[in-house]
Subunit: 155 residues, 2 copies
C-alpha cells in the first residue's frame, strides 16, 4: 500500500472535516457495535469486552492472561480487573501456573462453558443488526485487518 497523499500536497479542506476522517468512521462504528450488543449481552450478564474474552476462551478453554491479551490486543492493566469480574460472576477460574508461577491460567467453569450455548443467538442477532451480506462482511473485515496491521506496524 502507498501513502494516499504526498507530503508536499495540500490536504483539501473537505478531507479535514470530522465526518470524513477514516479514524472517526472506525471509532463511531465501534461505539455503534457496542450499543447494538448491549441489550443482547445484558441478557447473559456480559459486557462487550467480557464477551470478547469469552469468545477467546470458547476457542481454547485454558489460557494464560498474556495469551488472551495477545488475541484481544489488551494489556493486563485492562484484563486483570475484567477477569476478576468474570470470576466473580462464576464464568472463569484463575489459578497460578505451577510450572511458571508468574503466569495466571484462566479457565472456563461449567457455567462459562454452558454459556457458549448462547453464541448462535447472539451472533444471529448481531448479524441482523449489522444487516450486511456475508460478502460485505468479509470485505470490511479484510480491509480493516490490513489497516490495523499498517497502523500497528507504524508505531
Amino acid at each position: 500500500m502507498k501513502a494516499h497523499l504526498a507530503k508536499t500536497m495540500e490536504i483539501p479542506e473537505e478531507e479535514k472535516r470530522l465526518e470524513n476522517q477514516l479514524c472517526f468512521a472506525v471509532y463511531s462504528t465501534a461505539h455503534a457495535f457496542t450499543r447494538a450488543y448491549k441489550p443482547i449481552l445484558d441478557k447473559v450478564g456480559l459486557t462487550y469486552p467480557q464477551y470478547l474474552v469469552m469468545l477467546a476462551l470458547w476457542e481454547k478453554s485454558e489460557q494464560a492472561v498474556k495469551a488472551i491479551g495477545e488475541q484481544l490486543d489488551l494489556d493486563s492493566g485492562t484484563l486483570s480487573p475484567l477477569l476478576k469480574r468474570l470470576e466473580q460472576n462464576g464464568l472463569i477460574k484463575r489459578t497460578r501456573d505451577s510450572r511458571d508461577e508468574r503466569q495466571v491460567v484462566v479457565s472456563l467453569t461449567d457455567k462459562g462453558r454452558a454459556m457458549r450455548g448462547e453464541i448462535d443467538t447472539i451472533m444471529t442477532a448481531i448479524g441482523q443488526a449489522a444487516g450486511c451480506t456475508l460478502e460485505e462482511m468479509k470485505t470490511i473485515r479484510g480491509l480493516l485487518r490490513g489497516l490495523r496491521s499498517n497502523l500497528t506496524a507504524a508505531v
Copy 2:
C-alpha cells in the same frame, strides 16, 4: 442490505472465532488508531477524543454541547468532563447561552484556533501510518458508514 445468514441456518464454527468477528475487526482497529495517534497528539497535548472535539470546533467555532455530542455520538456524561479539561488547557471557552440558559456554548479561544495549524501535520502523519490509498480510504469509510447506520437503526 440483507441479513447475511437466515435464522434457520447454522453458523459455521469458523465464523464463531474471535478473529473472524466483524465487530472485533472494528474494535481492534479503533484501538490501533488511538495508539497511532497517541505520539502525534501527545506533542500538542490532546487525547484522541479531545482531538475529535477540536475537529468539530475547527469546522464551526461556536457550538452547544448537544451539537458536538450529535456529531461525535457522545452524551454530556462523556463530554462535560472532557470539555472541562479542554477549557483548563485554554483551548476552549464555555459560556451559558443567554437566549437559552440551559445550553452551554463551547467556543474556541485564540490558542484553540491557533492549534488548527497542526492539522496538516497530524493528518499527514496518520495518513502515512494508515498507509492506504485515497481509494481504499473512501471504500472503507463508505462501508463503515453503512454498517454504522444499520447498527444504529437496529437498536
